[in-house]
Each structure stands twice: as C-alpha cells, then as structure tokens.
C-alpha cells in the first residue's frame, strides 16, 4: 500500500483503504493481526493520530476489532463485507473513469465490452 500525498483523498482514508485492500487480497487474513498504530505511522511516515483516525473508520464499520493489550485484528466476515461495499462503489470509482477515458479516445461501448471480455480471459 502506498500513501500518496498528491492524492485528493485525505491520508487517513488512504490508510483505511490500504488496510481494506490488504484484507481483500488476503495479505491480512480474517482473525489475523494487523500492524499497530505505531508500525503504521512509522512505516508510512505519518502522524499517529492520522493512522488512528484511519483505523477507527474500520473499527466503526466492524472490519477491525481491538483486543485490549494484544493488538488489532481483522473481524470474521470482513472479506465479504468489504466486497459488497466495494461493489457498491465500483461504478463511481471505476466505470465512470473508464468511460471518461474511453470517450477521450473515441472508443465505443462495443469496443470496451470486447476489451473487458478479453481482460477476463487473460
């Protein structure tokens, strides 16, 4: 996961989404431990308060749970929960951009569909 300062998204959101990506790709398994606030902030060179804010978002959504004195863990069922959430935003985040770029290049919707099918096959 990369923190990009130029990104329009605030850093705490980037942290939360980075952890989400880790859970979705299996980097952080359900019931498995995730890095501590200190590890996250040192690694990404960010203020611990920012890292905490990002993690708190995930705690509020029930994706991450804290065990006092032990650490932070991925809640069971997080993967399917996150998939559902990401699917809801898939159109906003990906399709709109894809179509905008395609229009710029004068690619028709038929051509895009063809490419998508090719993408699935590769």
């Amino acid at each position: 996961m990369q923190i990009n300062f130029e990104d329009e998204r605030p850093i705490f959101i980037q942290i939360a989404e980075g952890i989400e990506d880790g859970i979705l790709t299996g980097g952080f398994a359900e019931n498995g431990q995730i890095p501590s606030i200190t590890e996250l902030s040192v690694n990404y060179k960010i203020n611990p308060a920012t890292a905490l804010k990002g993690i708190s978002l995930l705690v509020d959504e029930g994706i991450i749970f804290k065990k006092r004195g032990v650490g932070m863990f991925v809640a069971p069922g997080s993967v399917s929960k996150l998939r559902a959430k990401r699917k809801r935003s898939f159109f906003e985040h990906y399709i709109k951009k894809l179509v905008a770029e395609a229009k710029k290049l004068e690619i028709t919707s038929e051509e895009i569909l063809g490419m998508i099918e090719r993408g699935y096959k590769e």
Binding site: F5, E6, D7, P10, F12, N47
Partner: protein, 284 residues
C-alpha cells in the same frame, strides 16, 4: 494551564521587526510544524520560548509558569538549535553524559542505540563532525532528552535523504512510545506535512496560518486540464496559482470542490502544499 503559551510577543532587532505581536498556543503531546521562509521569525520565536532571547513585549508561559529566567519552566523544554552550542573539544559521548546532568531523564542507552543506527561515532570530537553529522548529533540529543517539549530548529540541515527518513521515523516512533510536544521549524514543508498535526505559517514576524494540517490540506485542491477548460472552470473561484504548459493548464484553487460538477477531462488532485506555501509567503 497546559502547554506553551506565547502571548503578544514582539521583538525588534534594530529597526527590523522580527516578531509582531505573536500569540500562539502549543498544546501538550502534539507535533507542530512552524513553517516560514528564511528570516520569517521562526528561530527568533523559538529562541524567545527557550529564553535565549528576551522579548521586547509580551510573555511566554510554559505549563503556566513564566518562561523568562525560570529554570523550573525551562527544564521542561529542550531546543535543538541550528547553531552548534556545544564545546568543540568534547566528544559526542561526553556531551551525552553532560546532558544527563541537565536533563535527568536523558536516556543514554537510547542515545547510544540511535547514534549507532545513524553511524555517528561516539568518540568523535564535536569539531570534527561534518555538517550532516553535526545535525545528527543534535538530533540524537533532542530525541533522547525526554522533556515534555522538544523544539527542532531546521533539524534536517545537511542530512542526506536516508538520514532524513531515519530521523522522521525515529521521531514518530519516539512520539508513539511516549507522547511529547514536538515543534519542528522548517521550510521543507512537503517532507514533514504527513507527520504534522498542526501547522503554523509565519511571515515577516506574523502568523499567517494556524490550523490543523488536515483542514489546511482540505482547504484547497489542484485541478489540471486543457487551458480552455481550466479557464472556464476557475471563473469566480479563488485561484492562488496557475501554471501553463502549451495548451495545458494547472490551477491551485482554494475552497471545497463538488465532485459531481467537475467537467469531464479535468483531473483533480490534492492541494499542492509547496506551491500553496510559496504563494503565501512570497514577497509581493
């Protein structure tokens, strides 16, 4: 009262007004950035807080105690200054030992550990240290004193990229371990922005910005696209800077953005802090 309070402090050097009625509050356990161009008044302010300079007017209190000529108050504060004030014939290790006499919570073991990580030779004499290692030597002390307030005046002066990275990471680690107030004075805003919780920008002895880093970053954005599109888009918006490259244009815009009304083809990115800072602190 907690924290360091600077109340209406003014300072003149001859007919130069270095600080003009500055009032600030540094709360406990936060990381502050004090940003400004050379000569803006950063060091003067830090020197007044640490009683190395007397203000012409105004007061500084440290946890409720008057900071001027007050050892009890000053023991709570450590300042890593740009200048090297240590005896040049001493070795690094000797200075560390002396530091423990003045700052009883000085952690010798930690100082030795991070000196090794930086590659600072403990038996080297202060006079033989290069610019970079002279900074590192002062950083080691600042990170080891364990006072509730640590002031860093241009801490990364002469440090290479690796050592700068190490310093920032150690600072965060230290801060996560046992919170303290860090005030970092610098003009390298991009580098420290992610670490800071609160930003103060000073220009010509006056405070221009005193805000949380997050709200500062969300106070504007950068938009790029074709010159024609950008010109239409930025109409009636507060634009602090534009760059044109052929038919393309980039604008730094203040204010919030409604993502739903961004025309197709325009690219929105975060506020360019460096550009914002340069624009803000430029002499008109």
């Amino acid at each position: 009262m907690n924290g360091i309070e600077v109340n209406n402090v003014s300072k003149n050097f001859g007919d130069t007004l270095a600080l003009n009625q500055v009032s600030l509050n540094f709360e406990p356990n936060k990381i502050y950035g004090l940003l400004g161009r050379n000569g803006a008044g950063k060091s003067t302010l830090l020197n007044i807080i640490t009683n190395r300079l007397f203000p012409d007017d105004g007061t500084v209190t440290i946890e409720g105690l008057i900071g001027t000529e007050n050892d009890v108050a000053q023991k709570k504060v450590y300042m890593m200054s740009e200048k090297n004030l240590y005896p040049k014939s001493m070795t690094c290790q000797e200075v560390f030992k002396w530091s423990k006499l003045f700052y009883p919570n000085f952690d010798l073991e930690y100082a030795t550990k991070i000196s090794n990580q930086f590659g600072l030779g403990l038996h080297k004499k202060i006079r033989t240290l290069s610019t970079g290692f002279s900074s590192i030597f002062k950083i080691v002390i600042a990170l080891s004193v364990n006072t509730p307030y640590v002031l860093f005046d241009e801490p990364v002066l002469g440090l290479d990229a690796n050592h700068r990275e190490m310093f920032y990471k150690m600072l965060i680690e230290k801060y996560s371990d046992a919170s303290f107030t860090a005030i970092i004075s610098t003009h390298l805003i991009e580098e420290v922005a992610t670490i800071l919780e609160h930003v103060m920008i000073i220009k010509n002895g006056e405070i221009l910005i005193n805000d949380s880093c997050e709200s500062l970053l969300s106070s504007g954005y950068t938009v790029s696209g074709t010159a024609q599109q950008i010109d239409a888009f930025i109409l009636e918006k507060v634009v602090i800077a534009t760059d044109t490259l052929g038919g393309l244009k980039t604008a730094t815009v203040m204010g919030n953005i409604d993502k739903d009304i961004v025309p197709l083809g325009l690219e929105i990115t975060g506020l360019d802090l460096q550009r914002f800072f340069i624009k803000l602190t430029n002499e008109e």
